[in-house]
Amino acid sequence: MLETKEFELNMGPQHPSTHGVLRLVLHLDGETVLDVDTVMGYLHRGTEKLCETRNYYQNVPFTDRTDYLAAPYNNLGYVETVEKLGGYQVSERALYARMAIVELSRIASHLFWLATHALDIGAQTMLFWCTREREVILDFFEAALGDRLTTSAFKPGGLRRDLPEGWVEAVLEFCGTFPARVEEYETLLNANRIWMERTVGIGVISGEDAIALGLSGPMLRGSGVDHDLRKALPYGGYDTVDFDVPVYPDCDSYSRYLVRMEEMRQSTRIVQQALAKMPEGKITGKAPKMIKIAEGVEAYHVVESPRGELGYYMIGGGKDIPYKCKIRAPSFCNLQAVGPMSKGLLIADVVTVIGTIDIVLGDVDR
């Protein structure tokens, strides 16, 4: 009889599959994972503290740097919260321009998720195909917002400047060709035997557990829970566009993959509708130059970022800086599932689990 004992293995902080600096202490029996201890904070920059020292306009660039793969969505969550606090109206042009930009960022984020997730599992082609399309979207961001990754896209009340000439046509042309690209990805992966064996039945979490653990976004919808904040608590004009919420009931990595693929198609639809609805007019908005929020006025506003429920809880302090700015980061809450999801799996499957949660460490640590 061979003697066995529990074994501890450090995965990270520098590990290619952790997509940043995340350390997992795996408790192993042979190659089977018994428990996972997550150590984070390597990227903690004190964003919330910094937000309490800058004024409402200066805080926008901080929000880019939380979830840097979908920076426009973080900008949107922040500026919408400030608009709620101050009661500022957004012009219709700005509303739809924002919707188009944030949905493009959802596509870009999902593309990069697919690229890295597939690369982790062993499908290298996806990296090249997905970054090819993502590059086009980043070019759109650069043209309209001046930056590719840390966009600082919006300001309270609207956008910083109007969209450049020809931008709308270029985006619509991209939207026309993009669904065919998604199909291309699917021909490569959907029935791929290696892909199926690495994702089907891996990282299972039931819908009930997912709700109790506070998971959100594709993590919920991949577990059969039909919940999308764009439908449930519509914000930013989402109640005026038509789109479907994909839900798959299998609770595993494969069904989360299907959710994200379908979301890319639906986002394309939203971009097309938003650009069609976008009227001419002023885009910069009506918020005052110096925003002051009275003491004690508070708001907790949530948006559906590519990773899930992104919430901003802000309290005014009577000055031009917020008294409190808490960021409810979807990656942080979703990462909590890495323990329950990895139990009983092999070490190689932990890579799949990290990938399927779709974490961004800037968002986890803030």
Partner: protein, 259 residues
């Protein structure tokens, strides 16, 4: 509780930007403001409590107090630390079905008593409504942990403890989550300086950068042991060189002669 005045101050500014909803509330406010100088004591009765708040107060009576709504229309209630577990269990299992704990955080009101508010943002995935629950917490005391009710609270409470130092009683594993285990202080408290705890050393270094003397080699000698320790491994020596007093240079020379 003793929060009646702070409650009013929370209501009043809300009416200023209230162009978005409740036009009648805006109309009423000026009248109330006119009336306040003379009688003052009774604020006009709350327009209509939010149905979620009404259900909660109907169940628990005085144990929870209505604190109005925030700018998104989410009702806010306040509960005492002693009743919190009971109230929260009912919120999850009772009619409101608030099965989703969205976030936990704290707010530091430095001069207030109790000093902190622990804030829970709840949501019902099926019924689609929100609720914010606040609970006062004095520095050094704690509030009961919600891990048994929502497993999501595990990391959220650890984060709050890490950044605010509010204890969560009964939490199975309450330790720092972002900061190193031996970190001193709680960064999101209002009395914690933005630059970090070694503020004095930092400002001296910055002063040196801005036009004081900048001499790395002599600085390394001038720094004392404690300052070197505070500066950490990244900073070699000090960037600050104190002005050598006239008599000190004299005391040094005999030493060198002795060598």
């Amino acid at each position: 509780m003793a929060d009646e005045p702070s409650n009013d101050s929370a209501e009043e500014p809300a009416a200023k930007p209230a162009a978005e909803e409740k036009p009648e509330a805006v109309a009423e406010k000026p009248a109330a403001a006119d009336a306040t100088p003379a009688p003052a004591p009774e604020p006009e009765p709350e327009p209509e409590p939010h149905p979620v708040t009404a259900a909660l107060t109907g169940q628990f009576g005085d144990k929870v107090s209505d604190e109005g709504e925030d700018q998104c229309g989410t009702p806010i209630v306040r509960a005492g630390a002693d009743d919190l577990t009971e109230v929260m269990t009912w919120l999850r299992d009772g009619d409101l079905k608030l099965n989703y704990l969205s976030s936990v955080t704290a707010v530091d009101y430095t001069t207030r008593d109790p000093r902190f508010d622990v804030v829970y943002h709840l949501y019902s995935v099926g019924e689609n409504h929100r609720l914010t629950v606040k609970c006062g917490c004095e520095d050094g005391e704690g509030v009961p942990s919600m891990v048994d009710i929502w497993p999501a609270a595990d990391w959220l409470e650890r984060e709050t403890y890490d950044l605010y130092g509010t204890e969560f009683l009964g939490h199975p594993d309450l330790r720092r989550i972002f900061l190193p285990d031996d970190w001193e202080g709680f960064p999101l408290r209002k009395d914690y300086p933005l630059e970090g705890p070694n503020l004095e050393l930092l400002t001296r270094q910055q002063a040196a950068f801005r036009g004081g003397q900048f001499d790395r080699i002599r600085g390394e000698q001038a720094i004392n042991e404690q300052e070197r320790e505070m500066a950490g491994p990244g900073v070699v020596g000090a960037l600050w060189v104190p002005e050598p007093p006239a008599d000190e240079s004299e005391t040094e020379t005999p030493d060198q002669e002795g060598d």
